[in-house]
Every structure is written in structure tokens, then in C-alpha cells.
Amino acid sequence: MRLLSLLFLGLWIALTTSVVAQDRSGPLRIEITQGVIEPVPIAVSPFIADNAAAIDFARQITAVVASDLVGTGLFRDVPKDAYISQIDDFDGSVPYADWKAINVEALVTGAVTLTSDNRLVVKFRLFDIFTGSPLGDGLQFAGGTDSWRRVAHKVADQVYARITGEDGYFDSRVVYVEETGPKNARLKRLAVMDYDGANIQYLTDASSIVLAPRFSPTGDRVLFTSYESGFPQIYELSVGSASKRPLQVDAAAMTFAPRYAPNGQTVLYSRSEGGNTDIYRLDLASGQRARLTTAPSIETAPSFSPDGTRIVFESDRSGNQQLYVMPADGGEATRISFGQGRYGTPVWSPRGDFIAFTKQNAGRFHIGVMRVDGSQERLLTASFLDEGPTWAPNGRVLMFTRESAGANGEPALFSVDISGRNLKRLPMPTAASDPAWSPLLP
């Protein structure tokens, strides 16, 4: 792992002619697909509480905004005790020199009001200290008090978007499988949480094995595989009510690896019959099914391109697992993976520019990305067992399962940038696997 990181670091140094944020003439801009060597110093000034009832919220919202931004690895939050001047008037002028003197590149200010009908109103501004000007207009968000974290995430998403030019991803959720109990008798249940591990909510009990949940494009439904009937079958669950229904009632075959099409109305899944696994398509409205592959080999783990015209999947038709792309209605498939080892679990980026995958080679597992034609393969991680990448809504960060080895081994959720930077483990109370990232919440 150390070696790999150094390798990437070397690569990025070679690619990056100047450290973007430290030697600039224009407005603050971090190119996140380029390497950033040093996190950009920002100041998330304590948000001002407009009334006494808002004091706790102001403090907590400030902390979440800072945590979101620092968590990207792109920023570091300059400690409050280094501040020369304090922001105590949200609408007042900003003494840029005071912030420049402590090397702050960007300043976030905010104010929080708790209205008489118990709603939070959060205003924020972003300033580029180097150019001495605001970066975009001030904005405000409002929400119920129980959604204070979402409001904070929305502020952080705006800051991130204005500085990177990319969409944010903080106001999003992750559905995953919670794992407890010993390795040979694991209890698994579906859970959903905020992208940063907060607000865990359980969607199933642990009475049956559940696997690999996937969000709908609108984030309100989840597909998954459950052994509830005794046999693996695919189910659809409403996140709001946690009510579920089987999509496949088929005693002759097991079904698994479901995934929505970008339209949310079509579902791809795998079906095994007589030991042969192929990919099928189900129209949710009509219930009509179509078989998309017919090879005697294993075809599974399908994922649509964001425009819905193509499907990437894995197949061992060549003798071992490799990645292929075929038209959305089936037909001739083109192999896109050609490196050493086995490739599985391909997932098309929501931006359409990359395909993420799991690679297994020489006894190690990797999460990697490649262009959709298979070129420019890059491995982002290496460990005993990494698998199942899922894309952040902006297509710039991946989350995946990393499992430790041995009798006490257990899975945890990790995330990594597509640059290979900022590998980190999500703080969670239990073992967890099979994450699936939601779209940005409405």
C-alpha cells in the first residue's frame, strides 16, 4: 500500500506542473482530477447564531461543514485560535489582510437562525482571500431542525462546487449491509446512512442473508438480494417505509446482482439456472423480462451507462472474469479489460467518463478505474480483499468494501478519490459491506 501510494504520488508530481492553490494569479480553483500535494488552507469561521435558540445548531453546522471539506483531503481547516479577527457580523465587510496574514486561501462565513416555527435558516458566504473578493453569491438554505446535518452538507457542497468546479456529494446517503457475528454465521441487515456515516437507519432485520443493495436514480428505492424465501431472489424496497416486495418469484432459478437503469424503470439482474448465470432485464411497469446474454459462461454484475444505451458487465467466457460492454438490449459484447488478473463488479461512472471495477491479481485485490473503452487503467487501492466500488454522485470519489484477513477478519467501508488520494475508512459502529451511494439528495 505504501509503495502504491508513493508510486501515485510520483505520477501526480510528474503531471502537476505547479501546486494549484499556492502559486496562482486567478480565482481560487482546485482541479481535483489533478494531484494536489498540499491541502488548501481554509477558514470555516464559526457560524453566527442569530438568536439564542440557534447557538447549538450554529456550532454543530459549522463543525459538519468543516468536516465535509476537510474530509475530501483537498482542504485543511485553519485552527480558530490562529484567527486575527473574528467574524461577528455576517453582512459586515471582510478584513482580507487579517486572513491573508495567516495564509488562509478561502473563508467560509455563516449565520444560523431558528425561526419561531422551528425552522433552521442557514446563510453562508465564501470569500477568496487571495483575490480579495467573494466567490459566488451568498446563499441560504432552510430546513427542519432534524435536518440540520443536511443543511450543513448543502453549504459544504456549495463551497466544494465553487472551488473545484465539480458538483458536490456531501448531501447524499449510502445504503449498505451491516455485518455482525462470527465469520461463519454472519448476521446481515440492510442499513442506510448519511455519506459520512451519520444517521444510521435499519431497513431489514437480520433474519435472512441480504446482499448488495443498489439505490434507484431518485434515491427513494433500493434493489437488493435476499435469502428470505430460502433462495436468493431480488427485492425492491421503499426507503421511506422500508416495505419490500420480491421482483422475481421463480422457483426454478436464483436471481441476484440487480441494478437500476438510469430511467429507474428498468432493472438488470443475474439469473442462474442449471448452473449457468446470465443477465436479464426487467421492466418494472409491465413486468416484462428479456434475456440479454445466452453464453454458457457466467455473465453477471451488469451496470448501465448513464445515457442508458450500453451495459458493462463481467463474464468468464474467455476463461476468467473480464469486463465487457454490450448494447442496452443485448447483442454483441466487446471486451474492454486486458490487463493481468481477473476483473469484476464494473460500475459506470454517473458522469460517463470512467468505469470502476474490482481487480484480483497475484493474491491481492484492487479497486481501479479505466476509461470506458478500457484504456488508461489505474489501480487506486491494494489489499487482502477490496471489492465492489460505488460512485459518489459527482463521479470523483469511490466507496468500496475492504475486508481484513483471518478468522476475525471483517469488512469495513472505505472511500478513495479517483486520483488514488485520500483513502480512508468510514467511521462506523459495526462491520459493513456492499455500499451503494445515492444520487445527490433533492
Binding site: 454465521a185 446481515k188 428470505e228 446482482a257 457466467i298 469484476g344 483471518g406
Partner: protein, 170 residues
């Protein structure tokens, strides 16, 4: 013959009529098991018509090579006896579980387990067992029998288990 390691636990649980294949019924799969309310091991190992005899004396599981579903000579020897037993004991059906070791992605291992279960099913049919008495299921890498992370455990986890259930089948 590691297959028989569970016999002590099995004996203890027989009186309860519980399911005793240690690899199958962890607390997590409880309801999920669901295959045959009369499933599990019944009768004594001394009674050659009992499922206990099938599991412990004949052997209910066979092993596979890495990423393979081929029924090798050792597995064939066990399955030949399984087939004979099934044909002599027509009151039972069998559910064939396919399993994989942890060295593989989840979806692929489900498909691989299905392939292994099917290979065993086809072999038993080729030895004369009526197809209607055999069902298959894959657990992929979800229910390892051994939990270490090296080949000594992996080789035991790449397995099929023939689980005897009540009922003559269709």
C-alpha cells in the same frame, strides 16, 4: 475425511430434530434456511436409511479446485454413494448447496456456487437419481465452513453440501 468432524455436535442435536450442518444454519440464515421444515439430520448414524448416516458415513460434501466446478475423482466416489443412497431411500429429496471461498467477488462467487451445485446435481442425475428430487442453491462466499484466510480453510470452503430433506419430490 474432515467431513465427519461435526458428528459430535450432530448427535447432541439430533434429539431436538434441529438442523445440524454447522455451515448452513448460522443464526443469520435461520429463517432463510427454510428448505424443508423436516430438514436436518434425523435418525441414528447406525441406521443406514437415516439422513444422519448419509451425512456422516457416506459424506454430504465434496470439494472443488480454485475457481472450478469440475467433479473430480474423489468427489465422484462420494457422489456415487450419495446417488445409491438417494435411490434406495425414495422418501427423501436433496437440496444441493454450492459454496465458494472468500477469494472472489460476491456476485461471481454466487454464480460459481450455482455452477458447483449444478455440477453435483448433474452428476447425481447421471447416476440415476430422479431430477425432480434434486434442487440447488448457491451461498457464494456467504457461509464459509472454515474461517481462516489461507488455503487450508479455502479448500474446505470450496464445497457442495447435499442436504437431505423430507419428501419424495416431484
Amino acid at each position: 475425511m474432515n467431513f465427519f468432524k461435526i458428528s459430535i455436535a450432530a448427535t447432541a442435536l439430533v434429539a431436538l430434530g434441529a438442523c445440524t450442518n454447522a455451515d448452513r444454519f448460522g443464526p443469520g440464515s435461520g429463517a432463510a434456511g427454510g428448505f424443508g421444515a423436516n430438514g436436518g439430520l434425523v435418525g441414528s448414524a447406525g441406521d443406514p436409511t437415516s439422513p444422519t448416516y448419509f451425512a456422516e458415513t457416506i459424506g454430504d460434501r465434496v470439494l472443488f479446485a480454485v475457481d472450478q466446478a469440475t467433479v473430480g475423482p474423489e468427489a465422484q466416489a462420494v457422489l456415487d454413494q450419495q446417488a445409491v443412497w438417494l435411490m434406495q431411500n425414495g422418501d427423501y429429496r436433496a437440496l444441493i448447496e454450492g459454496h465458494a471461498d472468500e477469494q472472489g467477488t460476491r456476485d461471481y462467487n454466487l454464480a460459481l456456487g450455482a455452477r458447483r451445485a449444478s455440477a453435483v446435481q448433474n452428476y447425481l442425475i447421471s447416476r440415476g437419481v430422479a431430477p425432480g428430487r434434486l434442487q440447488t442453491i448457491s451461498y457464494g462466499k456467504e457461509r464459509p465452513l472454515e474461517i481462516c484466510s489461507d488455503e487450508s480453510c479455502y479448500s474446505q470452503n470450496r464445497r457442495s453440501v447435499t442436504v437431505i430433506t423430507a419428501g419424495a419430490g416431484v
